[in-house]
């Protein structure tokens, strides 16, 4: 399977495992879209935004003595975005509807982020 196919199937599996998830994407740390399974919205723009958020989060962890960043999230009243570092090169973002099983979501997404990190090498 090609690199792109493996990343895509990781996203597809994530979406079928988590019905409340409205979309997920993988971007490079510098904000280029690598793969996506997003129902609506401009995924290129989302990729840049999650890279910005991750980049800022990394420096916040450094500044606040919190070690190296593993994940960050943004919550609105109609949903959340969870952003997971995937190795040094990538980032996985998952857009979730409000509510849902956050525990299960984190479990699945952290595993997916590790997989993405492995694939990206």
């Amino acid at each position: 399977m090609s690199l792109a196919d493996r990343l895509q199937s990781t996203l597809n599996e994530l979406r079928s495992a988590l019905p409340d998830v409205r979309g997920c994407l993988i971007a490079s740390a510098d904000g280029m879209l690598i793969a996506q399974n997003v129902s609506s919205g401009d995924s290129n723009r989302m990729a840049a935004m999650v890279a910005t958020s991750l980049g800022l989060g990394k420096r916040m962890c450094e500044a606040f003595g919190s070690g190296s960043l593993s994940e960050t999230s943004v919550s609105g009243d109609a949903g959340q975005v969870f952003i997971y570092g995937a190795g040094s090169k990538g980032v996985l973002a998952v857009i979730n509807a409000a509510g849902g099983n956050i525990g299960l979501l984190h479990l699945e997404c952290r595993a997916a982020a590790r997989k993405v990190a492995e694939i990206l090498g």
Partner: protein
């Protein structure tokens, strides 16, 4: 002297020298959010969120906010320009291919927040560079809106900032640029 800190945004296309400019001037540890670049942009790292540095000049505390250069990060241009007193737009004189992008950034920002700005022309020590007058023509600006600056040269960077502050504060203050560490 007790003035509120002034926020100055440093923007411009990729590779113009924004991060270098802030590193050169800041007297506090610079917050940098550089990540490995996956595109071929002539350098290994690129800013994805912001650069942040501070200094005192002319009796003012100045907060420098550097933006990412790529258009895909244009939301950060808006975020960082909120409440800004002035804008320094860095343009690399040896990369005419980036001038259009620079003009786009300038129009994007000044159409949202009409703030005073100056064009800082960098990399003028390279071969085959555009002259200040030619760049001014391209941007449709008076040549007095442009200043050549070596982003690695602290006093040149401070002079540039001093010139911008004169525009932000039209009443003017002392002529001599003073940078206190």
């Amino acid at each position: 002297m007790d003035f509120a800190p002034l926020k100055v945004v440093v923007s411009g296309p990729v590779g113009a020298g924004k991060s270098t400019y802030i590193r050169t001037l800041s007297t506090t540890t610079v917050v940098e959010t550089d990540e490995m670049a996956t595109e071929c942009i002539g350098k290994d790292l690129t800013t994805v969120a912001l650069d942040f540095g501070t200094l005192h000049i002319d009796g003012f505390e100045v907060l420098l906010f550097g933006t990412p250069g790529q258009e895909r990060f244009d939301f950060m241009w808006s975020v960082l320009c909120e409440g800004a007193a002035g804008l320094l737009l860095l343009v690399a004189a040896h990369r005419p291919g980036s001038f259009l992008k620079a003009r786009h950034i300038l129009e994007f920002i000044t159409s949202q927040v009409p703030i005073p700005f100056l064009l800082a022309v960098t990399h003028t020590d390279q071969e085959r560079v555009w002259e200040l007058e030619e760049i001014a023509d391209f941007f449709g600006l008076p040549v007095t809106d442009l200043l050549a600056v070596d982003a690695r040269d602290r006093s040149a960077c401070a002079r540039m900032l001093h010139r911008l502050l004169e525009r932000c504060l039209p009443t003017g203050r002392d002529e001599q640029s003073r940078v206190t560490a």
